[in-house]
């Protein structure tokens, strides 16, 4: 069932692609760092779940999709919106609750939506997006088109009923849906080993005779290759896949939570940071002569300017008007 995935060798002809995913990962890193600062300044309210450490998963996976495919995610989804092409300005403004945000300030950090880019949320009840993504897969099947629906969720979501109900129906009905579990080891402060009888999440697909694989979620190219196989299975063979990407979050569960403490040690965190997904790709590209240290610095400066622009835009943007309170409760 599981495929042993090793990172593919670099191909000099794919330099543009490598730069694209490097830029996306670094944009997410810089964006999230500034979002954390803005939260501390009180410019972002509510719950704010940062993605730092997990960048390889959203970027590697979404790079394998077409613009007309559907993407659904959890409440830790700033990265998925950015990787899907939502402007940094629109994402940051949404975190600020401004009317220029991608959900007009009504959604916030946990409910980013960008229908034009087929990014359909931003779902904040754990596991809620799993059947919903399969529903988009069902719609694709009804219409007989060749799109793919992708669902991102954390490893804690595999213990709720809707995960099992959905995987059963997706396998039974052959829905072109990819279930991508981002195993960052902790559901808030509860380790996987303390919440799941089976630690090998990909193994759970056996119950539904669904194809599955486990991939190193800190290796963006490995994630990308695994996702490409799943996309082919969905697009061509109309079959679902469960992918488990083993990753790690550097920050606390949300900005309101400690980075380490009772549930994990500082040493464990430092150990994981040695496998940083962005550093890994950068080192490989430089070692292979596909990128120079100067180029990396230039990209970083450019992305930091982009995030600064998003912050300035969000600061200057207006709140929704009071009349907006009653807009969009019902459609016409």
């Amino acid at each position: 069932m599981n495929t042993a995935v090793t990172s593919p060798a670099l191909d000099a002809n794919r330099r543009d692609f490598y730069f694209h995913i490097y830029r996306q990962m670094l944009l997410i890193r810089r964006f999230e760092e500034k979002a954390g600062e803005a939260y501390a300044q009180g410019k972002i309210g509510g719950f704010c779940h940062l993605y730092i450490g997990q960048e390889a998963v959203a970027v590697g996976a979404i790079a394998a999709l077409r613009p007309d495919d559907y993407v659904f995610a959890s409440y830790r989804e700033h990265a998925h919106a950015l990787a899907r092409g939502t402007a940094a300005r629109a994402v940051m403004a949404e975190l600020f609750g401004k009317v220029t945000g991608c959900s007009r300030g009504n959604g916030g950090s946990m409910h980013l939506f960008d229908a034009a880019n087929r990014f359909l949320g931003g779902h904040a009840i754990v596991g809620g997006q799993i059947p919903i993504a399969a529903g988009a897969g069902f719609a694709i099947k009804c219409r007989g088109t060749d799109q793919v629906s992708t669902c991102f969720f954390g490893e804690a979501a595999v213990n709720i009923g809707s995960f099992h109900e959905t995987l059963n129906m997706a396998a039974l009905w052959k829905l072109p849906t990819i279930f991508l579990c981002e195993n960052n080891r902790y559901g808030m402060g509860t380790a996987l080993e303390r919440s799941a009888a089976v630690y090998d999440i990909a193994h759970r697909a056996c119950s539904y005779e669904m194809d599955a694989e486990t991939v190193d979620g800190m290796d963006v190219l490995a994630v990308h290759e695994a996702m490409k196989r799943a996309v082919t299975r969905a697009r061509t063979h109309k079959l679902p896949t469960l992918i488990e990407a083993r990753t790690y979050r550097y920050m606390g569960h949300s900005m309101a939570d400690p980075i380490h403490g009772h549930y994990r040690t500082k040493e464990e965190l430092e150990e994981q940071k040695a496998r940083d997904p962005i550093d890994q790709l950068e080192i490989r590209l430089i070692d292979a002569g596909l990128m120079t240290a100067d180029e990396a610095q230039h990209i970083d400066a450019d992305l930091q300017a982009q995030v600064q622009d998003a912050l300035r835009f969000s600061d200057e943007s207006p709140d929704p008007a009071p009349d907006d309170l009653y807009r969009h409760v019902y459609a016409d």
Binding site: C102, G121, G128, P131, A331
Partner: protein
């Protein structure tokens, strides 16, 4: 005009809308091969095929979520619950997903879908199968809630619900499926949010919906013949949006009202109706508005206790006597 059952009227509405719009599909437990647990979807699998009349496993949360996702991707799902009691397993998707998607996406993602099935008590089905959740769903902004009482209304309202671009909770009655009524062959729809005066009267308004409409009409007959009281029977038909204008104009005429509903009293539909009346028509009232509801208890299996728990005609008559000051 042909006379058909409430069940057949729903079947015709589903068939007509599925023939009219290829994005409409029916999904739920036993809707296909078995022809529907209550036979509402009889013959539809044969007409539309298994891609559009979809039998599901017993997985309410899962298949309701699949309906939500299909609606987000442009389909118009009709999700059937074998009964609304089972829909409690899916309430997360109805309330947290369907009702909120348009708002929290800033207007980007409409949810054109219908959740339907029978609710309320039937006969001796016990506590877990005898519940009317009308006020639960009517509480939620973002949902529309419809509860038809007659075959004519059932067909016209279901067609409108399927065409509506919002999530609609469509509450049918297990005890209504065999009720017969006139339904024209010609195409028609009934707008959501419009109450219907089922009987004209001048002395008291009986506000009701779903199963309590027939009960109220029966009581109105008895009041007329035995006491000379002309009761107006106002069928709400849609609980959200509530037709407040229709309620107020009737009460302003009769100056008295009794709200009759199948649900429990606490935070019930009647509580909302009474609130609307007292705020807008206080000076028009000649008596406090009274309510007749199900008893505030879980449903007993015992036949006598079940009868005592349900809203009874005699309780409505007593309430009318009190508001018209005809007490013995």
């Amino acid at each position: 005009m042909p006379t058909i059952t409430y069940r057949e009227a729903l079947n015709h509405a589903l068939r007509e809308e599925m023939a009219r719009d290829p994005s409409v599909f029916l999904m739920g437990e036993e809707v296909g091969v078995y022809q529907g647990a209550y036979k509402v979807s009889r013959g539809m699998l044969e007409t539309f095929g298994e891609s559009r009349v979809v039998d599901t496993p017993i997985a309410e949360l899962g298949f309701t979520g699949i309906g939500v996702g299909a609606a987000m991707a442009g389909m118009r799902p009709v999700i059937e619950f074998m009964t609304w009691n089972f829909a409690l397993l899916a309430i997360d998707q109805i309330v947290n997903s369907a009702a909120k998607m348009l708002y929290m996406s800033g207007g980007q993602v409409p949810m054109p879908m219908v959740f339907r099935g029978p609710g309320g008590a039937a006969l001796q089905l016990g506590a877990q199968h005898s519940q009317a959740f009308d006020s639960w769903f009517a509480h939620i902004p973002g949902l529309k809630v419809v509860a038809p009482a007659t075959p004519y209304d059932a067909k016209g309202l279901l067609k409108s619900a399927i065409r509506d671009n919002n999530p609609v909770v469509f509450l049918e009655g297990e005890m209504l499926y065999n009720v017969k009524g006139d339904v024209p062959d010609e195409e028609y729809t009934i707008p959501l949010g419009a109450a219907d005066r089922k009987r004209e009267g001048t002395d008291v308004t009986l506000v009701c919906h779903s199963k309590t409409v027939a009960l109220s009409l029966k009581v109105a007959d008895q009041l007329a013949t035995e006491m000379g009281i002309a009761a107006e029977v106002l069928d709400l038909r849609t609980l959200r949006p509530l037709d407040v204008d229709a309620i107020l104009s009737s009460v302003r005429k009769t100056h008295r009202g009794v709200v009759v509903e199948e649900g429990w009293p606490f935070c019930g539909i009647g509580a909302q109706v009474v609130d609307e009346i007292q705020r807008a028509a206080f000076d028009d009232l000649d008596a406090p508005i009274l309510r007749v509801t199900q008893a505030d208890v879980p449903m007993s299996y015992n036949k006598q206790l079940e009868r005592l728990a349900k809203p009874q005609p005699q309780a409505v008559i007593e309430a009318v006597k009190r508001v018209t000051y005809r007490e013995d």
